[in-house]
Symmetry: C2
Subunit: 431 residues, 2 copies
């Protein structure tokens, strides 16, 4: 029998060049969030299906997630998002943990759906959350972390925009129009879709949910942030919160911020500020990632109310952003130098040299192929290893080695200490 | 409804202190294997069940793995080991890849069994493999990587031993005794169990599989490496291979090596040298990790024969080893300094200072709790953050800040540049 070499449908194999990109992105994410004092946590991808049914309902869990029954008759789900897991972990140790908590994780998440461009069945997602602070200072911090991530990945402020809105403001407006719970949900979904459909079709649909008069008035108010602020009044606490947030960000140099009254965000659990980072690139004009405040999520565990704000950022979207803006790093091997030998009899010298270089933190591979020297050099070049050292009988005797930079073609004859000085990784601050 | 906060049975939640340990171990593993030029690859945990049935048989896959049918009627398995995946990936690009390949990964693996001490349903495992070199030089390299990992984790040579054996030697011995395929398998299983049962019971069982005469003779030969070498003859190529391997390792300073004729290793796919690293600690006297040569694995994909040697190292075993030898690092927060304010009105100064420190690569958190200053200090201490800065009205005016080392209690009044100089991470070689 001949087995297929294809991966399972909708998931990815990461060959070294792919993993190199993912590692680069994850390293930048970790570096940035730890700069703000966030701590990494993690959990298994296996969770009880109960955890998702509580919030999303049985049908959604059964249809959109990987859920199966184990031999102990437990219903198990491959986690489709991380927030229920962090809520569970915090609820479990609510009394021992010292709040506020700044936590992050880069879990892989699973969803069961038809694979299509940019919608895979498995993807990775940075999640950061700040638990235990109910003031807008926390919202400002989390947004500034999101901003810092894109900057740390090489983006300029004019390449993206931070859109913010507040569920509290939207709810105040719904209160004014005296909308029922059901009307609110449907209205929010329509507002969320507004940019993707025509104005006529949007207004027609909205008129069916609420009255035509209300729909026209609501659309007028939401058409600009100024109108919305005027409508609610400048003394409205929710308006003040958004203004305060924008001012805080501006005072810290974050000015590519927009108050967007039509920004809704999908999840039902948001209770306050919501935000999204949008790509300004004409070929990738879409939401990069987002989050918001969700103060009630621990309810499902019977735990006390703990205010929370956070966001999630997917690896596929992040990579697309970097690609379209030309910010992806060039691939290089983990090895900095490859040691080649003219024959197997120089191998012991090569091994000794390799071990010496490794002790000096120089990543070194060694050629064990017994191929011709030309093929050994071709190999190093194909593997994107920057340097090669060539050892023959003369080098074994003299202890002076020929080292070649494969990019420039430059070749030098150096003693071991000189090779170490040349290749020793640049001394730099520990990240 | 009140949901349970427990994790799924047999898997772990990683709170920040747990993740800190895991990150420490993984960082050391990555650092070491990249020092030898190994490249990271990865894949999804979801694989077609076929991939495992080919080698392990339907029954084992159904009983010992998480296998379920998706809605597209595909049988999916949560990967129980990484080797079939890497074999699949290499077979898929066999023609484009440049051999030899040095690849590594740290996947999470799943097995369905009763959870018990040290036997979880999900664990992580470093896997390294060298594909495309059939000489014993490759075995020596892979063993030297294993040795370097433990050394890099702080272990001394007398704390562990490298046990090696060769399937080729064992097969030559079986050939001599003219054992059938079935007898070989049963004999190998018994030899593997020898150290766990009494000599009498071992010999009795072995006599049932082969004859009593053969059992006694075989046991005598296997009782010491010298006897085995004498039995096969010093000119036997398999004996020479093991002697060469031990000499190569010794010439590179790796001398805690033992030729152990009774070392079997579980997996059926090994074809040559096999090895294990054993913990010498009296309280943890057991196999830490191991591997070997498997030259025939790509057969199942109909690909050409590619020689391979590699090993796997589990995260639980690694942690146990470090624990018992007192080699675990002390937990510290990702934040190096926590900025406290006497009141909310100093917050803008705190934010500006925090952003300045972050620009200088200093991981900085900020207190947003509005609690009393004593509580803010207690918080920093509980979070294991090494330093605190306290800002009041005076500090805002003077630009001179009070910074306290929480471990020593030492307090200094410093300007921003002086704080940067104090906290700036030690300049060190890039790992």
């Amino acid at each position: 029998m001949k087995l297929s070499t294809e991966s399972y449908k909708g998931v990815r194999d990461f060959y070294p060049e792919d993993k190199f990109i993912q590692n680069y992105i994850f390293k930048k994410l970790r570096e940035t969030v730890e700069r703000f004092g966030y701590l990494e946590y993690d959990a298994s991808i296996l969770e009880s299906a109960e955890l998702y049914k509580a919030k999303s309902g049985e049908e959604i869990v059964n249809e959109q997630t990987y859920t199966f029954t184990d031999r102990g008759d437990r219903e198990v789900t491959l986690r489709p998002e991380m927030t229920p897991t962090i809520a569970r972990m915090i609820a479990a140790r609510e009394k021992e943990l010292t709040f506020p908590l700044r936590w992050y994780s880069i879990p892989n998440l699973f969803r069961y759906e038809k694979p299509q461009r940019g919608r895979l069945r498995e993807h990775w997602q940075l999640n950061i959350d700040l638990f235990g602070v109910d003031s807008v200072d926390a919202d400002a911090e989390v947004i500034s972390v999101a901003h810092a991530i894109l900057r740390n990945l090489g983006a300029q402020d004019d390449q993206f925009v931070v859109k913010i809105n507040s569920r509290r403001i939207i709810n105040a407006m719904y209160d004014h129009f005296e909308l029922t719970f059901d009307e609110r949900q449907k209205t929010s979904k329509l507002i969320d879709k507004k940019s993707k459909i025509s104005v006529e079709s949007y207004l027609a649909s909205l008129s069916l949910v609420i009255s035509e008069t209300k729909a026209t008035e609501l659309d007028r108010i939401l058409s600009s942030s100024e109108r919305l602020i005027t409508f609610l009044g400048e003394n409205n606490p929710h308006t003040q919160e958004i203004v305060n947030l924008i001012e805080q960000l501006a005072s810290r140099g974050i000015t590519n911020v927009e108050f967007s009254p039509t920004l809704m965000r999908g999840f039902d659990y948001y209770t306050g500020v919501v935000f999204e980072l949008f790509d300004n690139h004409p070929e990738n004009n879409r939401s990069l990632f987002g989050g918001g405040r969700y103060d009630d999520l621990l309810d499902i565990f019977g735990a006390r109310k703990i205010p929370a704000v956070g966001f999630g950022m997917g690896d596929v979207t992040a990579k697309d952003f970097l690609e379209v803006h030309g910010l992806l790093p060039k691939y290089t091997s983990s090895a900095e130098v490859h040691i080649c030998t003219l024959s197997a009899s120089e191998r012991p010298t090569a091994q000794t040299l390799a071990d010496t270089l490794r002790k000096d933190s120089i990543n070194t591979s060694i050629d064990l192929s017994n191929k011709k020297i030309g093929d050994q050099l071709k190999y190093a070049s194909k593997q994107s290893i920057p340097y090669v050292i060539i050892i023959g009988e003369d080098e074994v005797k003299s202890g002076i080695f020929s080292i070649k930079n494969l990019a420039s073609g430059e070749e030098q004859k150096l003693k071991v200490e000189e090779i170490v000085a040349l290749l020793k990784p640049p001394v730099q601050a520990h990240a």
